[in-house]
C-alpha cells in the first residue's frame, strides 16, 4: 500500500515538474512550448560526451552530485533561455498557433541535433548509484531514490512558491502572467520576465532529466517526449497557465497511472494509458476550463 503511494507520488512528481515548466512559460507568453521535452532530453545527454558508440562515455555524469546538479540545472536553464532569445523572441507578436508550431519545430531541431551527436541508441548509465539502495520505512522497503525524488520535488515546489510570493521578481512575474501589457505599463521589463520564466522552466526540465536518468539508468532521446505528453496533459487539465493546477493535475495523473497499473485486470494493463487518457477526456468534458481556471484572460501585447 505504502509502495503504491510512493510510486504514485514519485511518478506524479515528474509529471508535476514537467507541467510546471510548461505552465510557467504559458503564463507569461501564452506559448505552449512543445520543445520542453527536448530540453529535458538535452539535459540528459549533457551527462555524456558526444559519441555515436553504443557505449556511453560518461562526462558530467561522473561528477560528484554537488557539481553534477548545478551543472545540469545550468545546462537546462541556458538552453531554454537560448531558445527564447534565438527563436521565441521573434514570435512574441505572433498568434499562439504560430508560436506552438515554432516550438514543435525547435523541439525537432534539438532532437536531431542530439541524434547527430549521440545516435538514436539508448545508452545505459549509472547515475548517482548510491541512491538505488533501498531504505526501510514503516515496514516497507522503498528505493532511496524514490524518497529523494519526492522530497526534491517538494523542496522545488516550496522554493518556487516562496520565490513567486516573496521576491520582487516573483511579484513581477505573477503580475505579468496575469496581464502582461499592464505590467509593462508599470515598468516591468518584458524581456527580463520572459527570460526568467524560460530559465526557471529550463531548470525544471533539468531536474526532471536528473531524476529520470537516475531512476531508469537509460538515456533515450525519446524519453523527454514521453514525459512531455503527460506533463502537457497535466497543464491542460490543471487549467492552462495555473501553476497550482498544473502541479495538482500532475500528481493526479501520476496517481491515476499507478492506481490503474495495480487495479486493472492483468489483461488490460498493457492498455493502461488508454484508460488514463479516457479519464483525461472525462475531466475535460466536465471542466473544460481545467481544474483551477487561470486568471489573466487578457491578451499579451
Amino acid at each position: 500500500m505504502l509502495q503504491i503511494l510512493f510510486d504514485a507520488l514519485s511518478l506524479g512528481s515528474l509529471y508535476a515538474l514537467g507541467a510546471l515548466g510548461i505552465a510557467l512559460i504559458f503564463g507569461v507568453m501564452r506559448l505552449v512550448n512543445f520543445a520542453h521535452g527536448d530540453v529535458i532530453a538535452f539535459c540528459v545527454f549533457a551527462l555524456l560526451w558526444p559519441s555515436t558508440d553504443a557505449m556511453a562515455i560518461v562526462f558530467a555524469g561522473q561528477l560528484p552530485w554537488y557539481l553534477l546538479v548545478p551543472f545540469v540545472l545550468l545546462c537546462g536553464a541556458g538552453l531554454s533561455v537560448l531558445c527564447e532569445i534565438v527563436v521565441f523572441r521573434r514570435f512574441r507578436q505572433a498568434n499562439p498557433a504560430t508560436m506552438m508550431i515554432a516550438s514543435f519545430a525547435l523541439g525537432f531541431v534539438i532532437r536531431y541535433f542530439l541524434l547527430m551527436l549521440f545516435s538514436s541508441r539508448p545508452k545505459s548509465i549509472s547515475l548517482l548509484p548510491e541512491l538505488s539502495q533501498p531504505v526501510e520505512i514503516l515496514g516497507a522497503r522503498l528505493p532511496l531514490l524514490q524518497l529523494i525524488t519526492i522530497v526534491t520535488t517538494m523542496v522545488i515546489l516550496i522554493g518556487l512558491t516562496l520565490f513567486l510570493r516573496q521576491t520582487r521578481f516573483g511579484l513581477e512575474m505573477r503580475a505579468a502572467a496575469e496581464n502582461f501589457s499592464m505590467a509593462r505599463m508599470l515598468g516591468v521589463r518584458a524581456n527580463r520576465v520572459i527570460m526568467g520564466a524560460f530559465a526557471l522552466s529550463g531548470a525544471l526540465a533539468a531536474a526532471i532529466a536528473l531524476i529520470f536518468g537516475a531512476q531508469t539508468g537509460t538515456l533515450d532521446i525519446q524519453m523527454g517526449a514521453s514525459i512531455m505528453l503527460m506533463a502537457f496533459i497535466a497543464t491542460v487539465i490543471g487549467g492552462l497557465g495555473s501553476l497550482g493546477g498544473a502541479v495538482l493535475a500532475g500528481f493526479l495523473l501520476g496517481a491515476a497511472s499507478v492506481i490503474m497499473q495495480v487495479m486493472l485486470p492483468i489483461d488490460a494493463r498493457p492498455f493502461r494509458d488508454a484508460f488514463v487518457y479516457g479519464a483525461v477526456i472525462l475531466v475535460l468534458l466536465f471542466r473544460p476550463q481545467g481544474l483551477i481556471a487561470a486568471r489573466g484572460t487578457k491578451e499579451r501585447v
Binding site: 503580475a175 496575469e178 505599463m185 508599470l186 516591468v188 518584458a190 489573466g296 501585447v301
Partner: protein
C-alpha cells in the same frame, strides 16, 4: 517646453483608421480632458502614448524624449503612468502587491525601498480603505475600490504625467464623485499633470481645465472646458454637424 507633445498621430487597426492626424501638447501641471463619443479613438490615443498600441504615423514626445515606438516599460520610466480603460487590476494579487508592482523600476536607484514604503503610506493616507484591504485579494474589491486602487497604483511609480481612461466607467455617481474629489486633492498635493478621458464632457466642465473633444478619430474642439461648456457648440461637435 511641453511635457507631452503629439504631432500628426495616426493609428490604424488593419484597415480601420481609429485616429487620424491628431496633434496636441500638454504643459507640466495642466489638467486635460479628452472627451467624445464611444469609438472616437480616445482610448487608442492613450494606449499609443503608453506604447502598447503602435502608431501608423506621427511622433510623440514626452519630457524631452521622443517615445514613438518605444517599449511601454521605457515610457513608464520617463514618468508616464497609465490607468487603462477597464482598470486592469491584477485580480489574483493582493491590494498591496498591486501597488508594489510599479515600484521595481526604480530598483537601481539608491534608497528606493524606503521611498517605495513612503509612497505606499502616502497612497494609504489618501485611500484609507486600501490599507484596510491591503492583504485581501484585489479581484474581490468593489468597482469603486478598484478604481481607487489603480489610481494609487499609478501614483506608486512617482510619475510626472498620469493618464486615466474613463474613471467613471461602471461606477455609481456618488462613488464617482469621491474618485474625482481624491484626484483633485492629489493633483493639488503633488502638482500632478493629469490627462483624463471621459465620454461625457459634464465632468470636465465641473472640474475645469482644458478640454479636447474628439469624434471619428479627430479633434473637433480644443479649449477651456468651462467656456466650451456653453451648450450648443459642444452638442453640435459631440453629435456631429453633418450627421443626418
Amino acid at each position: 517646453m511641453s511635457l507631452l507633445a503629439l504631432s500628426d498621430i495616426t493609428i490604424r487597426y488593419s484597415r480601420l483608421t481609429a485616429v487620424r492626424n491628431v496633434s496636441f501638447s500638454m504643459d507640466e501641471g495642466e489638467i486635460l480632458f479628452i472627451t467624445g463619443p464611444n469609438g472616437a479613438g480616445k482610448s487608442s490615443l492613450l494606449r499609443a502614448i503608453a506604447g502598447v498600441t503602435p502608431v501608423a504615423g506621427g511622433r510623440i514626445d514626452l519630457a524631452g524624449h521622443e517615445i514613438t515606438g518605444q517599449a511601454p516599460e521605457n515610457i513608464a520610466r520617463l514618468g508616464f503612468s497609465m490607468v487603462p480603460e477597464g482598470r486592469d487590476v491584477f485580480g489574483s494579487l493582493t491590494t498591496e502587491e498591486n501597488l508594489l508592482v510599479g515600484t521595481g523600476m526604480h530598483a537601481r536607484e539608491r534608497g528606493w525601498r524606503s521611498r517605495a514604503a513612503d509612497e505606499l503610506e502616502a497612497v494609504y493616507a489618501t485611500f484609507p480603505m486600501l490599507k484596510e484591504r491591503r492583504h485581501g485579494q484585489a479581484g474581490l474589491l468593489s468597482g469603486g475600490q478598484q478604481q481607487m486602487l489603480v489610481i494609487g497604483r499609478a501614483l506608486m511609480t512617482n510619475p510626472r504625467l498620469v493618464a486615466i481612461d474613463e474613471p467613471s466607467l461602471g461606477l455609481a455617481p456618488n462613488i464617482n464623485d469621491q474618485v474625482y474629489e481624491r484626484l483633485i486633492a492629489l493633483r493639488a498635493q503633488r502638482q500632478l499633470t493629469l490627462l483624463i478621458v471621459e465620454q461625457s464632457s459634464a465632468r470636465a466642465m465641473m472640474v475645469g481645465g482644458r478640454m479636447i473633444l474628439m469624434r471619428g478619430g479627430q479633434i473637433v474642439l480644443d479649449g477651456d472646458a468651462r467656456t466650451l461648456g456653453n451648450g450648443e457648440a459642444i452638442q453640435a461637435a459631440y453629435f456631429g454637424y453633418e450627421d443626418n
